[in-house]
Amino acid sequence: MRARRGRTRFVWDAIGLLLFVVIAFPVYWMVASAFKPDDELNGLTPTWFSLHPTLSHFRDAMNRPFFWDGVKNSVIVVSVTVALSMVLAFLAAVALAKFRFTGRKAFIVLIIGIQMLPQAGLIIPLYVVLARYHQVNALSGVIVTYMTFVLPFSVWVLRGFLLGIPKELEEAAMVDGSTRIGSFTRILLPLVAPGLVATSIFAFITTWNEYIFARILLNDQSKQTATVWLSYFTGTSRNTDWGGLMAGSTLIAVPVIVFFLIVQRKIAFGLTAGAVRG
């Protein structure tokens, strides 16, 4: 019995390893290709692991026109969006987690409903309205657009984190004679800080990755974000600079992957909390 169990475990492990290779391969291939010299990239037989890694593709990618503009614009858009959204979303999350009030349910419907809107369906109205207020080709137009997507999500996840704080802790602080605001800053804020960090990082990832609105709302190449820069990399030429393309891809993916690894567990919790509770 034991031996048979060991054998089936081995079969499952083998399948698991095979699937790991299939799933992780695209990411590995991106990074590996970014470091390969051109002759290894263009050969008909792929080089699985380069013994002559080079940084030249990264230099090429960074020296391409508008790379640094794209990075700079992305950093501006992301940091302003995240900072503004976190403040506003936190306030609303407190209202949802700590108060009962008329219209609470309507607000929840609004928060959940907005997240369901297909972005493609909003291209036309946002473009037309933002054009009317001269916000097309301006980073501010993209920032307010992103806020409408980041806010509902952040309110929802932060509310989850706030609910995780035991009421007793707060009440203990109140009994000790602190005011509601005092109990908020001294007890609630430190406890919810990890949640705020996790939510900001997730907001960072969504905004950094966003493509369609940046593509439509920003026309000048010097105004474009990093993802739009990457989407124009191949252009129309037949001979693609694969090494440069993969180096550029790696440069844009790395910040996201790093941050994602930091918050992965927390966000999985935040996203599933609603589902599992149901």
Binding site: G16, F20, F99, M116, G121, I124, L230, S231, S249, G278
Partner: protein
């Protein structure tokens, strides 16, 4: 919600009923407490109303107007009644795209949830080292920005020296020398599906795996001792417990895949995008934005929003109920 939470809530309600009611005098503190939640949600509500509510109102108006580049500059359109809607609904292409998008969505959702569930079940069978490796691989796939993933897909599948053709040929799956993965509309959409499913699986695996932890070992073992085969155990023991999770995952996936834009738009690429491979999001982008016929685009947008609204009712209702309970 667990049973203890429910009984706790009942106890509280009973206590409140027993407590004598008395009118509390109006005080400043109570007034502040009363308006506090409204002040707290005000900034979010105002932002959403201004940046989303107003454009949506505008969208509804646009859909009844002739609104092109000229009108965009002149800043007002001319009313045309239902002309935009009837033009869209009489467009053969609209119906073709709608059917294609539905088939595409069903295929993508079924594949992602099917493979995701199998992977989650596999995670419970493998040794801990393999589990850590597999989870790490899933997290990497999850973290890849879609625009970047598209570029990697283009590189892996390029006909000249893409690694996929090389591997398939070496494994004797067939002759894939210089095989063009974007040759036919079917293969274009299949390649898009592979990209979307790869990106969607991690979230599904993590969610289902978390749900599997709730299924008690005793139940599964009892069923196995009774002689139930693995499929029966899944169908009659595991699945009923996970049903709420599957419901939410399915409706979320349907909504996401129905409105998908970035992956097919960048993978199939501009010169190749045409009537034979357009999905709803791209059709809308081409007809409304690229042809600068914003009025007609608005009509398509409204139709698309209506379809998605119907699709998302199940999810929204469930989430709202969960959110309302857990106050």
């Amino acid at each position: 919600m667990t049973s203890s939470e429910i009984s706790g809530g009942k106890a509280l309600a009973a206590e409140a009923a027993l407590r004598p009611r008395r009118r509390r005098p109006f005080t400043f503190a109570r007034f502040v407490r009363g308006i506090a939640p409204y002040l707290l949600i005000l900034p979010v509500v105002v932002t959403i109303a201004a940046i989303l509510g107003y454009p949506l109102y505008h969208l509804a108006r646009l859909s009844f107007q002739k609104y092109g580049l000229f009108e965009l500059i002149a800043r007002h359109g001319t009313d045309v009644g239902w002309a935009n809607y009837s033009s869209v609904l009489h467009d053969h292409l609209f119906w073709q795209v709608l059917v294609r998008t539905i088939v595409f969505t069903v295929a993508n959702v079924a594949l992602a949830i099917g493979i995701g569930t199998l992977l989650a079940l596999l995670l419970t069978k493998v040794s801990s080292i393999v589990r850590v490796l597999l989870t790490a691989g899933l997290v990497l796939a999850w973290a890849m920005p879609p625009v970047v993933a598209v570029q990697v897909w283009i590189w892996i599948t390029n006909p000249e020296n893409g690694v996929l053709n090389y591997v398939l040929t070496q494994l004797h799956v067939g002759d894939y020398f210089q095989h063009d993965w974007l040759a036919t509309p079917f293969s274009q959409l299949s390649l898009t599906t592979s990209l979307i499913v790869w990106g969607a699986i991690p979230f599904i695996v993590v969610t289902v795996y978390a749900g599997l932890a709730q299924v008690s070992h005793e139940l599964v073992e009892a069923a196995e001792i009774d002689g139930a085969r693995p499929w029966r155990v899944f169908k009659d023991v595991t699945f009923p417990i996970l049903k709420p999770i599957f419901l939410i995952l399915t409706s979320l996936s349907i909504i996401w895949d129905f409105g998908v834009f970035t992956q097919p738009y960048l993978l199939i690429e501009q010169p190749r995008i045409n009537a034979s491979n357009e999905l709803m999001g791209i059709y809308l982008f081409e007809e409304g934005y690229l042809k600068t016929d914003f009025g007609r685009g608005a009509a398509i947008s409204i139709l698309m929003l209506l379809i998605v609204a119907v699709l998302s009712i199940v999810y929204v209702r469930k989430m709202v109920r969960a959110g309302d309970e857990a106050a």
